[in-house]
Symmetry: C2
Subunit: 250 residues, 2 copies
């Protein structure tokens, strides 16, 4: 009997936990997910497991948390790294796990953390209303400079000849880095629909938007996205749509 | 004959590459370091290796880069993850590598990335002078709210009974997470000396500051820190000292 996979996270928005759900759904793996608890119960459960879970597990700072038997770990890219090889989604060549991890970390830095910081440039604990002007200013610079830089990077990865032709970041081998990039693009589209539409229509990032389409239509992912398990973006998550921030690049 | 370890990074400040140097220095491992190139040559070298290095390596977005034979990888926590088990600095229990990686990622998020963002809250490509007021405001909130939250977290990790008593994050086993936390604390002391002095003197984080002392005096680390290989913090790196931002908590 093997221990179940348990995702321990808040409920109500996809959040960072979504990356963990996507890798498990793609692999068709069974898992427990605290998103089905009430808001308060899910929070309570997170607080409980942030405390040292015994068995050599240290305290953790923030969810998502992942429990597998006696092991409790935190940090989205770390959970993916743990699951990737077990689910056959961390590449096929020697040391691919480190290539995949580098790509996943880069997607999370650029198209998740940076987008998050756009709505809270001054302080996470301050309401958005108290940093609205700074948020608008940051979003403008981000859309003008960082977004093209990130999209251009991913287009380059997808275009380069990696020895094996194919639509994925590592060539013909689909990995969890593709899932991470999909979710990051998807969330950025929710936050900045005008800028992402403009980027898409420019044709300069065709391979990037094709990856987004291709992931969305993978059978297990399509089923998941159409199910009640996929939560909706809301304006208290990582990705928030503030009309003031939703500008296009000049 | 084994391939050399090669750190590919800019020169002039410790930067994110410093975490890679510290793990190699602690282990007494030989490595090549592009910090000894001229500023321009080091930059050129980074640009060269960001491009796909063949052998299945994808393009990367930003340095530090690490080369070991045909493998080229990016992302500081990923390079540490690659080196940790090879150098015997990733724990001793099953799955410790994931505990250590979680701790390293958390230190980098909280006491490296967040500190970096304090001097550039609006945009990384804008000079600090053009976001001085926002930077001051962000630093005040950070020192008031986030810094205690981070220090409190690390104190909790160090205080908890993890089955093995000891001064390190995993108990008695020294790991590279301790090195990462040391460097993050050290940089934060450079950026915010007044706030860190206040925090230290409060006595509330004694175990955290003891870890900083204990790492500093490990033989290989002490030798390294006293050598010409240790670069100085300067006000164009991750950690910058702007007197306006250097406030104390109320």
């Amino acid at each position: 009997m093997t221990a179940p996979y348990e995702l321990i996270y808040y409920t109500g928005v996809p959040g960072r936990g979504e990356h963990v759900r996507l890798i498990l759904e793609e692999a068709g793996a069974a898992y427990e997910d605290t998103q089905f608890l009430s808001f308060d119960k899910a929070r309570e459960n997170v607080t409980h497991w942030l405390g040292a879970g015994g068995h050599g597990n240290p305290h953790y700072f923030a969810p998502p948390l992942f429990k597998h038997g006696d092991l409790v770990i935190s940090q989205t890219p770390n959970i993916l790294l743990y699951l990737g090889p077990k689910l056959g989604l961390a590449g096929s060549q020697k040391d691919d796990v480190y290539r995949v991890n580098a790509l996943a970390l880069t997607a999370l830095d650029g198209l998740s953390n940076e987008v998050h910081d756009s709505h809270h440039p001054i302080a996470v604990m301050l309401p958005h209303e108290d940093q609205k002007e700074e948020s608008r200013r940051r979003s403008q610079y981000w859309i003008q400079n960082r977004l093209p830089s990130h999209l251009n990077y991913w287009q380059k990865v997808l275009k380069s000849d990696k020895g094996s032709p194919g639509p994925w970041l590592l060539g013909e081998t689909f990995t969890y880095a593709d899932l991470v990039l999909f979710q990051c693009l998807d969330g950025t589209m929710y936050a900045f629909p005008k800028a992402m539409k403009q980027a898409r229509e420019s044709g300069k990032y065709d391979k990037v938007f094709k990856l987004w389409e291709d992931v969305k239509t993978r059978p297990n992912i399509a089923t998941y996205l159409g199910s009640g398990r996929r939560q909706k973006y809301q304006d208290w998550g990582i990705y928030r749509h503030y009309p003031d921030n939703d500008v296009v690049s000049e």
